[in-house]
């Protein structure tokens, strides 16, 4: 309480200089305005004027992201913030217009490091690096990334409450070639590619000098061959 009084006192002092030329009746409003700003900030809410493209919100309990944003202000009317919003769980997009007085829930997203443990049917099971708690991700959520998950790989999983929303793999993974046509000796061209099967059966294009048993690095972001790490 003391600090509140101090703030009020402090702001009265500063504002007095700014408002000496204004009519007396209105001084109170101006001071109140500035003073209340210091008490209003709810850290769990965004004001409409904070909204922008890419911002994550919680709407009806679901994590959402603003994919398109437009500031609009008709004639003498109020500022309106027109958003296209994507539900990060269902993938659905919808339009929503916020007035400047409206507030929106922030979305508490937490990402934590996990280590891959084992596959259980369609599910990939990871364990928390600190607590050893398990997290299960369906292969649908993993998409093409599932082909590059290897034993003991450390990944980053993004959660909303206890729901896993997204996974980030290390940018590069090392894997062994299980099967491919033998390469022509001495041919080090990297622009001529051939198919090769990885240890997990996934097929990838590699340069023709790569042989069975070679260890290669793959860029997990686009799933392409990066370079050879060791000869088999």
């Amino acid at each position: 309480m003391q600090s509140t009084i101090f703030l009020l006192g402090f702001y009265c002092g500063v504002l007095k200089c700014e408002i000496t030329n204004l009519a007396g009746d209105n001084d109170f409003c101006i001071i109140r305005h500035h003073f209340e700003r210091y008490n209003q900030g709810d850290i769990n809410m965004y004001s409409a004027s904070d909204l922008k493209k890419g911002l994550k919100l919680e709407i009806d309990g679901d994590p959402c992201m603003i994919t398109n944003f437009e500031f609009s202000k008709p004639g003498k009317g109020q500022a309106l913030y027109r958003c296209k919003i994507k539900n990060l769980v269902t993938g659905n997009t919808f339009d929503k217009t916020y007035r400047s007085v409206e507030k929106v829930n922030r979305c508490a997203l937490i990402s934590r490091d996990y280590t891959f443990s084992y596959i259980d049917g369609d599910n990939y099971v990871f364990s928390d690096n600190d607590t050893y708690e398990e997290a299960t991700l369906n292969e649908e959520l993993l998409g093409h990334l599932k082909n590059f998950i290897v034993d003991d790989m450390v990944v980053e999983i993004l959660f909303h409450d206890d729901r896993a929303l997204d996974i980030t793999l290390p940018n590069f993974v090392e894997m062994v070639i299980a099967e491919t046509e033998p390469g022509a000796r001495g041919d080090t061209a990297t622009n001529v590619m051939k198919p090769a099967k990885l240890e997990n059966g996934f097929e990838i294009n590699v340069p023709i000098f790569i042989n069975e048993g070679d260890t290669i690095r793959i860029d997990t972001r686009d799933g392409t061959y990066a370079d050879r790490v060791a000869k088999g």
Binding site: E18, N21, A23, C29
Partner: protein, 283 residues
């Protein structure tokens, strides 16, 4: 941009000035730093030391009208706090002009003549809707006599303006619900609406005009009501401008228009945003 934006702006400004000189308008300069900005509910002035930056030259132009200058225009920078987007910049160029003895429909004729003068190849066809007609057609309700601010603003940007964009060309939206009259006078034969229009080209709002309110008592009441509303929204409440209110007592019946020059240039250049139109946009 295919055109040089500075040369383009210069050429258009010459045409605009020529149009007004030709019609015996006097170009005026009025203060940019004000002690008391115009009190409007949703327009916020940028503080500037112990002053504010103007949001429009309106208050001074009306004092000039009251002092016996019947035809005046000004082109200059105006400032609106927190307005930024593809069609907004916190600092922008406003063209504002007033004509004693005219009403809002006289001003419409002059505005469309001015646009045809500077944008000869535009070939615009103007369609006129009252607010009641446009809202009944595109939003399914009539705000006149049944005004709801939130519903009005949201339907305007989500339904009516997109419909104007689809129609294309020039559209006039006129006779606003009296609650959205701002500084315009009530229509004598229909007090539910005010003599105000907004002009759109391709769905983009370009200009606002009034038959100006010259009743000082009514203006005072509107300012007081606006002050209450601003207080409720926790916005800065500006004091009443007594000099302005006194000058309204002598002000002749007049029409006035405010037009966003940057948006006009944007439309003429076929651009989608103000980015290529305003120099030093990122400031």
């Amino acid at each position: 941009m295919l055109i040089d934006s500075l040369q383009f702006r210069d050429a258009v400004m010459r045409d605009i000035r020529a149009f007004f000189y030709d019609r015996n308008y006097v170009e005026v300069e009025t203060p940019i730093r004000l002690k008391i900005p115009c009190m409007e509910l949703h327009i916020d002035a940028e503080p500037c030391g112990d002053h504010f930056l103007r949001t429009s030259p309106e208050m001074f132009h009306k004092q000039l009208l009251a002092d016996g200058h019947p035809r005046i225009f000004e082109v200059g920078k105006c400032f609106r706090k927190g307005e930024r987007g593809p069609l907004h910049n916190p600092e922008y160029t406003m063209l504002e002009w007033y004509c004693a003895g005219a009403d809002y429909m006289d001003m419409l004729e002059e505005t469309t003549a001015m646009i045809s003068h500077i944008w000869k190849e535009s070939d615009l066809v103007w369609k006129i809707y009252t607010v009641s007609e446009a809202f009944k057609e595109y939003a399914g309700w009539d705000p006149a006599g049944n005004y709801n601010e939130d519903r009005f603003d949201i339907d305007l940007v989500e339904k009516v303006e997109p419909a104007f964009k689809k129609l294309g060309g020039g559209v006039i939206l006129k006779d606003y619900p009296v609650e959205a009259a701002a500084l315009s006078r009530k229509k004598p034969d229909n007090p539910k609406v005010a003599e105000r229009w907004e002009l759109y080209i391709d769905g983009i709002e370009l200009a606002n005009a009034y038959s100006e309110l010259t009743d000082s008592k009514e203006q005072r009441l509107r300012f007081e009501e606006c002050a209450e509303q601003r207080k409720a929204l926790e916005k800065i409440v500006y004091p009443l401008d007594e000099i302005f209110l006194r000058s309204l007592e002598k002000m002749p019946e007049s029409g006035g228009v405010a037009l966003g020059v940057d948006r006009l240039l944007m439309l003429m250049a076929g651009e989608q945003s103000l980015d290529g139109i305003i120099s030093f946009r990122s400031y």
